[in-house]
Symmetry: none
Amino acid sequence: MSPIVSEEYKENRKKLILESALKCFAEKGFELATIDDICARSGMSKGSIYNYFKTKDDIYIQLMNEQTKANFDYFQEHFKTISNATEKLQFLFKTYREVSLTEDFKHLMLVHGEFWLSSSRKKEIRSIMLERYQNVYKSFVIAILEEGIASGEFRKDIDPSVISTIFWTYVDGICLDYAVLGTEYPYCEVFRKTEEMIFFLLMKRD
Amino acid sequence: MSPIVSEEYKENRKKLILESALKCFAEKGFELATIDDICARSGMSKGSIYNYFKTKDDIYIQLMNEQTKANFDYFQEHFKTISNATEKLQFLFKTYREVSLTEDFKHLMLVHGEFWLSSSRKKEIRSIMLERYQNVYKSFVIAILEEGIASGEFRKDIDPSVISTIFWTYVDGICLDYAVLGTEYPYCEVFRKTEEMIFFLLMKRD
Amino acid sequence: MSPIVSEEYKENRKKLILESALKCFAEKGFELATIDDICARSGMSKGSIYNYFKTKDDIYIQLMNEQTKANFDYFQEHFKTISNATEKLQFLFKTYREVSLTEDFKHLMLVHGEFWLSSSRKKEIRSIMLERYQNVYKSFVIAILEEGIASGEFRKDIDPSVISTIFWTYVDGICLDYAVLGTEYPYCEVFRKTEEMIFFLLMKRD
Amino acid sequence: MSPIVSEEYKENRKKLILESALKCFAEKGFELATIDDICARSGMSKGSIYNYFKTKDDIYIQLMNEQTKANFDYFQEHFKTISNATEKLQFLFKTYREVSLTEDFKHLMLVHGEFWLSSSRKKEIRSIMLERYQNVYKSFVIAILEEGIASGEFRKDIDPSVISTIFWTYVDGICLDYAVLGTEYPYCEVFRKTEEMIFFLLMKRD
DNA sequence: CATGAATGAGTGTTCATTCAT
DNA sequence: TATGAATGAACACTCATTCAT
């Protein structure tokens, strides 16, 4: 007895739900977006959605997991062809600078921002968020910085942990402000100056 | 014939409601905090609260207005005794660095952050937020930067608007991350480095 | 120790409240009109209104009492100068036909109609309404009809009670429809035909 | 995939709600009747009712629509077997005279009366009511009158529009008074006299 | 007698979740 | 697995009435 529907089919359904949910959450915010909204957007029924996800929170969490994973898969993929820390860091800046322009990214940032905030209140989300922040985001940049220190590209007396923290605080801050303010926000200039300043911290000065 | 209770009494009641609301919103988020929560915290009845505020949104907006006002009143008051731009900017950094330590400030930042996000979705909040961002926050730092340029403290070729934008993006980013991450977050170091970098942008280099 | 305020003053306050209430009830209906609406219209405070009336229902009832009384006082006053039943009946028709034109009368009819309906549900109002219907409205027309029978103006074999009932059903029906439909309603023609028909019932035919 | 419950099932649920609502509205009036009352009477949950109707107003409006439709469907059905205008008009009178006796009809009239009144205040109800009054009620009787004029049954110089107006004013007035006053009201006699009078208007006199 | 702040039960409405089909 | 009707606990908000001043 083989399964009635293929794994692939099920994966596609899940993806459809997550995509629809992202749009709904971006539009109205997590609390105000309803399961019915997601049904309407995905063309699926309520019962179906609950076959794939346990709760509304579950959709939220899996959505954020997918996004984070996709994000870092993308970086890892490209890093295969980059051999020094400076260029890797520049690639990060470049990626965020360019992706910021898309409407989809704005949506993602709004939902990401809300998820971040809600992590201060919902226990389950908090532990997921903290774990990811430490083990994925921060570690990722720390690794680059350590690589740069080892190779002599960056100063030896920097604290990779603090600078990684700063990096993400700035990047998130910029993306979020841009997502909220839209065209009013000079994200391109801000990103360039930020890159300049971060490298100012990393580079040897006399 | 004459008002039965003094204006002062009424002001105090409003303040009590706003303080209670701030705590509730910080704890649960705006959407999840209920009017009943605010009643419980303030010891007031539902009806009473609605004598002072039209809607839950109204409480939210007036709360944010009060906080912004108090914030800038504080800065203005202190700036009377400071005569140069460099020290003014340093005072801003110092204030945020120090205030960050309090639990109340964390609450404020969480609610502020949520307000900021929700401004991308609720029209009424959006216009209030944008107006305040431009005319209060950004203008405030622009004025300091222009003063510094005029006095020769800062480089002549900087763009005060962009640097003001950067300043607030960073400060908000830091405060928000600290509010979420708590003691994990090296806010003190981050603030010092940020101050260093901003001044790096402003100062003449050879 | 004489009363602090005169009886006249108090009467005027009550009248002011009743007038305001009539407008509010006409505009929104009894249930939807609030004490606050009446306060706003009358310029009086809530407490004051409750000094003059026990409950909202009380205002309603006294309002309807006043109106009925004023109505029949007006008829009685004019009947002093009319010596036959035919003319009295014609005067009734004429009065309703003419008064229908005023906006105030429309308001009155709407409230009157609602009162009539609510009398089928609220016990206290029911007994008041029934008593008034029998002892004031019906009796009034019965007396005219009996006068007309006695004087030989009307047929001897009519049932004054039924015809009085019919009279008020028609008059109320017309006034109510006019109040609802407004200028669409050909009240003038309808009143003339109704008068014609009622007299057709009363008059001797061969 | 396919609907889980039949259309018929859903129609029955709607009917159950409308029937329950009619009783509740008749008992307490529209404003005072609560959704909870309707739940209690129908044995359905609040959420269920809101699956079938958007708002309380919606229930009200659909209830009145159904009743009007049922009413005129009944007349149309019977008119197939009646070939002259006189008998059609007599059939209308007969129907109202007989139906008046039922408790259900009283309820209907009370709610109908309230709907009529509220149409003077609620915009949405007003347009529905006016449209129905003109295009259903009035037109229906006008058609009969015109048929009678054409066939020579009625006088040629009558105004069908005015007489139709009069007809409904009287019929509504009688039904409403009967619904309020109950057994006190000699509806049978009143209906006979009214029929007599209307035909007096229509018939040729010398 | 006048005032209007306080009260809190009650209202219409929403929505995540369940479950029979 | 898919469906969508059913549920009922919540929620924001209202309003007649009271009562201290």
